[in-house]
């Protein structure tokens, strides 16, 4: 199964594998959302949306509709 950031549960981490979707704004890339970087789900608002992430030390919140386009590999443990 192909995981995206939207699949993460609070406290879980993953490694970003692909951000080539057209629905991902350049700004997000500039803020560090790039392949190879670790992403951690810090907190979610009610209904899992928006999602508060820590991407390699950069803390930001995005909506679920964007999160489903950022592919990741889950890190276990």
């Amino acid at each position: 199964m192909q995981y995206t950031i939207a699949h993460l549960k609070r406290g879980e981490r993953g490694i970003i594998t692909d951000v080539s979707s057209k629905l991902i704004p350049l700004k997000l890339l500039e803020m560090g959302c790039l392949p190879g970087n670790t992403v951690e789900l810090v907190q979610v608002a009610p209904f899992q949306d928006p999602m508060y992430l820590n991407i390699n030390g950069s803390h930001l919140a995005i909506r679920k509709e964007t999160a489903i386009h950022i592919l990741i590999e889950k890190i276990n443990g």
Binding site: V19, S20, K22, L23, P25, L26, K27, L28, L29, E30, M31, G32, L34, P35, V42, Q43, A45, P46, F47, D49, P50, Y52, N56, G57, S58, H59, L60, A61, I62, R63, T66
Partner: protein, 699 residues
Amino acid sequence: MGKQINVALIGNPNTGKTSVFNALTGLNQKVGNYPGITVEKKEGICKLPRGVKAHIIDLPGTYSLNASSLDENVVIELLLNKNDKDFPDVAVVVSDVENLKRNLLLFTQIKDLEIPTILVINMADRMDYKGISLNIGYLEERLNTKIALVSTRKKEGIDNLKELIANYKDISITPCLNASEIDKTYFDNLRKAFPNQLLYKLWLVITQDVNFGKTDRKEIEDVTSFKTKSKADLKRLQQKETIKRYQFINDVLKVGQTIDLENAKDLRIKLDRIITHKVWGYLIFGIILLTIFQAIYDWSSVPMDFIDSAFASLSEWTKNQLPQGAFTNLLAEGIIPGLGGIVIFIPQIAFLFLFISVLEESGYMSRVVFLMDRVMRRFGLSGKSVVPLISGTACAIPAIMATRNIESWKERLITILVTPFTTCSARLPVYLIIIALVIPEGRFFGLGYQALTLMLLYLIGFGTAVLSAYILNKILKIKSRSFFVVEMPNYKLPLFKNVALAVVEKTKSFVFGAGKIILAISIILWFLASYGPNENFNNAETIVKTELANQNLNEDELQQKIASHKLEHSFIGITGRAIEPVIRPLGYDWKIGIAIVSSFAAREVFVGTLATIYSVGSDEEETIKNRMAGEVNPILGGPLFNFASGISLLLFYAFAMQCMSTLAIVKRETNSWKWPVLQLTIMSSFAYIVALIAFQVLK
């Protein structure tokens, strides 16, 4: 005296750029606008060693040179235009030690423009706490720059920074990396086509057209002919560029920065577990709002009472000290009460700006955006609309400007249209004086009735804003893709200096901005109230005396009658009478009518107008409030300002679009007269209907 050095402060949002600006310039700063647009322009003067002076511009915060908003575009426009009088001799990039990696992206872009660039690493006091150590020598070498480690909190490193700015000529202008490697052929062709231009500058111009629409720039030849690539291809190249820059930055930081996670403490995680919690988060937000309203009401009542009576005494004193005549009357009855009507609200406005700037400085505002996004989206708004809606409690103008970082046009337009419903500080004067007149003083669970009424009015404002957003969301057929990215900055204890400067600056612009209008209107009103067109006014004394000859009035009562007869037949009285039929069903008399009409310029004029109208012809030393309390309703009898007419007035001001400046800003931000005109008609007719119903039901 030598030439001033032009310095541009550039940096990501939340890096403490403004703190550095404040530390460099102190009180030698001024806030204006960039010509033609409403982006705030902050500039100041800084004294450097050896008698050199620097002119410093604090540019809007931006994550990169790829603009996606008007504010960010200002940065690029300045850096691309060598002929601009503010073009920097040296750029100072401010970064935050905890987010160095992300901050360096912008730094490497500016280096590519071959401008001497100093790197400020701010918040250096946090390094131990976070277990960060830096190899400054190595970083300076790899980044071809000079680095200033600065802590504005501990006031360290500023002198070193000044020294570096003074010696900016020693700084290398060699770029850190070669961005053109992302597509060799494309950039080679570009170089051949424009051999005299800086390659990276060309690239920025091309991509800026893509991102931001055509820009008008004279010193660069037209590059439109050179769009050999599709928009999508150019975007892909920008992605590639970003990835390449990050590769370089990672490479540099691998050696230049070590983070000892063992020693890193993270208060943020603990705080966010509570502050952004599904239940506690909303509870805390509610408590904060409640505290703010109670505080604004309770803390400012003492200085306000003082100001009110001080102006009343000043007016009385002027009258007694200066020789009698038209000028003395103008001063004592027109100008002084008019000014009093604005000065009195300084305490409250200052408190409001104090709270807003503390919430922003501390990083809490972003948490509110996070918590509220989902809720707001249901109403067609964005989490980011919360910031305009909250700063709308200060003033709708900066609030509407703050909508610029909302990515989706539809969400942004709706936010602009509904923001004027939130209770701005200009409504406060009107609310406060009417509440004081018609709401009893008792307490309910420790909260005063008057404070609760005020809180209710704020809630009505928010509620109407949100409901109308819901309706607009259903009606407006605009398709726009929405991107929502919001940085969650670290929690910071707000710096006293930053908060103090923000409060002083904002209060000053409120007082002087509104003050000018109020003063002008007070003077006009005084003239209109002191002169009349016909015999009825000029012979008031004889007319009143003959009419009331058999009533045995004493001298005081007689004077009172004469004064009110004069006022009724003055220019203003005649105008007021003419509009009275329209407003009588709302429970207002013609004096309130005049105040409503004149306060169309700005709501706070309402109180000043009544103050001027009531003080014309009166000899007593009286506060505005007491004069209003003494007014009698000419038709129904009893006090004019009673519960029914008071509530009706409160509701009228809650909904009516009584602010010319807001309309002007909406026109500018939406680039069309359609939206402000729509706003004016809908809001004001709604206000009229609600006020009408309220008075008819309650009377």
